[in-house]
Each structure stands twice: as C-alpha cells, then as structure tokens.
Amino acid sequence: MNGRRFLWLTGGFLVAAGFVWFWQWIADHRLISPVFLPGPDRAWAALVKGMVDGDLTEKLFATIRRMIYGWLLASLVGIALGAAIGTSKVLREYLAPMFEFLRPLPASAIIPVAIALLGLSDPMALAVIAFGSLWPVLLATIHGFSAVEPRLYEVGRALRLSRPAVIFKIALPSASPDILAGMRLGLTVALILSVVCEMLAGRDGLGNWILLSARAFRAPDLYAGVILLGVLGYVSSVAIAAVEHRLLIWRDRAR
C-alpha cells in the first residue's frame, strides 16, 4: 500500500514537473512576451536573489506578522463574542440577523472607511484584517455554541456548574470543531486582506512588493513574490490543519 502511494506521489510530482517544463518551453519560445511571463528559471533566480539579499525575506516576514496579528486578534474577539452570543438565546435573537446582513459584505469594502478613519497606517491594516477574519470565526463560534447537545447543558445544570464552568468545560470543547473550522477560513481571509492592505496603503510586505514589481515591469520579481505568497498560503493551511488534527484527536478516539 505504501509503495503504491509512493508511486502515485511520484506520478503527481512528474505531472507538476511537466507543467513547469511547459511553462519554461513557452517562455523559451517567447510564445508570451517575457515582459509578462518570465520563465520559471528567471522567477526562481529572482526568488533566490531576493532571499539571499534579505529583501524578499524581510517582506515575507512583514506580511506573515501582519496576517498572524490580525488573525489572532480576530480569533480572540470572535471566540469571546461568539461564546457570549452563542450561549444566550436573547442575544442571539437580537444580534444574529444583523450578522447575517453583515456577513456577505466584502471585507475589502471597509478598507476605504478604515483609511478615512486611521490613515494609511499599520493600525489601519490590522483593523481591516481583524474585521475581515472576525466574521468566519464569530459565526462559526455562535453556531458551535448554539449546536451543543442540549443534554450536555442539562448535565451541567444537574452538576450545578457556574456559567463560566459550563462554557469552559462543556460548550467550548464541544464547539471546538466549528471554531477551528472558522479560524481556518479566517486565516485565508487574513492573508488576502494583508496583501490588499499592503497594496493600497503601501505598507511594507509582499503585497506591496508584487505591485511595485509589476509597475516597474520587473516580472521575475513579481512572479517570485506570487510564488512566495502561494507557499505562504500553503504552509499556513497545512499548519492549521495539523493544529486542528492535534486538538481534535479526542474526537476521533471517541468514535
């Protein structure tokens, strides 16, 4: 079984290598102008050069910091608010419809408002990222808390647990799969908004790097930045999936 899996993986790798080769072939034969599409060799060279010079590394870490801070802020606020709203029927009835209206609002649409309020600054970017990734976490937490098996709450009452005890011992563990799913979505949103904020506000980071590279027609640098953003997206989703798996291992055992 493992041998076959390895074979499939090798096959998948060969297919991916084939696509990269095709890209190189297009670039070599100049089917698309090299101004728009540099070959993978030139993009790779730009990536290595940026990493060695430290230019690109610096931008990468600026984007990562922005993304993580905004996401953590959104997760903390989202879980706290979601716990309060999800455990209270009254709050849910009053607030849930308003959230349903706000949810489909594109988070990027508040960027101009945030710029007017906070200027082209880092706090502006942080506020936008946190606002955008708040919704998935908040709504998932509310859903998680309101979908807790009612009998568990009855057990809590029978044991005369206090409200905080009910939240931490019963509701939070039971809602954690939903919360983590919301946080995973929130992380994707945080990355997208980090890039958009950097482009618009000119803050240091990969978003700004790729925009400036495009304006200066430095296509290899542009593709190097896009590749790094893809890697960042991939690594963050793998990392959170691993955390999710670790935290929810009890659930698989219970089955």
């Binding site: 297919v15 649409a109 309020l117 482009m199 925009l211 930045g225 896009v226």
Partner: protein, 253 residues
Amino acid sequence: MSRAAKALAIPAALLVAAEIAIRLSGTTSLAVAPPSSVVMALLAALGDGTMLAATRDTLACAFGGLIVGGAIGLVLGLLFGLVRPLDRLMELTVEAIRPIPSVALIPIGMLSLGFGYGFEIAIVAFACVWTMLIMTRAAIAGIEPRLLEVSRALRLSTHQRIFKIVIPAALPRIIVALRLAAGFALVVAVTVEIAANPQGLGYGILIAQQSLSPQLMLAYLLWIGLVGYGLNVLLSLAQQRLLGRAAMVEVRQ
C-alpha cells in the same frame, strides 16, 4: 416582541445613536457622516445613475468570472471525480496552485491584461475555479455507492451512467458550490476594484473616500452590503426553488 422587531431593534438603536451623536458633536470628520445624510447620498447616487452603472460593472465582472471559472471548475471537478487516476496525478499540481491568494494575481493581471473587464473577470474566475473543482469532486465522491451498483446492475453504459446517475446525484451539492462561488465572486470583484481596477462599486467607494465625501463613501458601503445580501437571498431562494427538498444537503468545505 416579534422576531423582526427583535432583529431590527439593535441596528435601529445604533443608527439613532450615531445620528444624534454626530449631529450634536458637529463633527467635520472625513470618516463619519450621520445616517440620514448617508441615506440621502445613497438616494442621490442611485437617482443620477452613477451607482447603478457601477453596480452593473461589478455584477457583470462577478458573473462573468463566475461563469468562466465555474465552468472550468465544474468540468475539471467532474473529470477528476470520475477518473480517479487523473485526480491523483493532478493532485500535487492543484494543491500547488490553489493556495495562491487570488489578489496576488492582481499585479500579473495588470501587467498582462491591463485594466478593464477582462482583467477583473480573469481574477474572479481564478478564485471561483477552486471552490467548484473541490466541491464537485467531493459531490461525486459522496454519491451513494448503491446508486452506482444499480447502474452496474442495469448495465448502463459509461455515458448513461454519467448523465443518468452521477450528475443528477451530485447536482444538489454542485448547486451549493455554485452559490458559494457566487458569493466569492462578488467579494473578489469588489476587492479587485478597490485594489486596482478603476471601475465598479469598489472603485466608487475608493473615489468617494479620496474626494473626502464620507456620506457618499458610507452610502457605497451600505449599497455594497445590500447588493451582497440581496444576491445571497436570491441565490438561496433559487436553490430552494430549483431543488426543493434536495436543497437540504449539508454544506461541507
């Protein structure tokens, strides 16, 4: 108190409080405006047609991208779902391209396509492909195995099996995927307009901010919210009408 009254109580109270606070403070802030003047600005912008034209541009790009990206995603999803070896061979490639944030393609689009509809549609399409691909593939993988056994027992040809069993069985989930992708499409279209493309609602809100007109900026924000909400309501209605009880499939991403 009825449910509607409860739902409206807090937003209404917040709006009234904002109105009073802003009027009393006499602020000349460039970021906030009293709700009443926001509504007036919205009506004025709707009246002179600028906002409707912007809405048309945004929706045209969102739906254009949805159609192009959705079709590509649907075809690839069906192909990968039906031909397992192909899926496994392409997995690495798909997983390498999928995590690229759609907004990261904005500079590439600017460079190669220039501003306009094509540029925006291309980026929206890229964002929609993956939702459709992944969910269509999952829909086919989630088909009740007994249905496939039935198709074998009836000795259906591959063609018959796909069109009589697989597609009808996967359809409810594919429609859910389409609905999710449509929501994405609007978000991405507005984002592309705010970040780069000089047209549509996203550009409108950015220009309103830059021309220091907070009431128009907030009017655009309100309108974008209404368009997003309206689209969502319309799509879930359409989903229920089209599918009836079959619409009750769980949504998993």
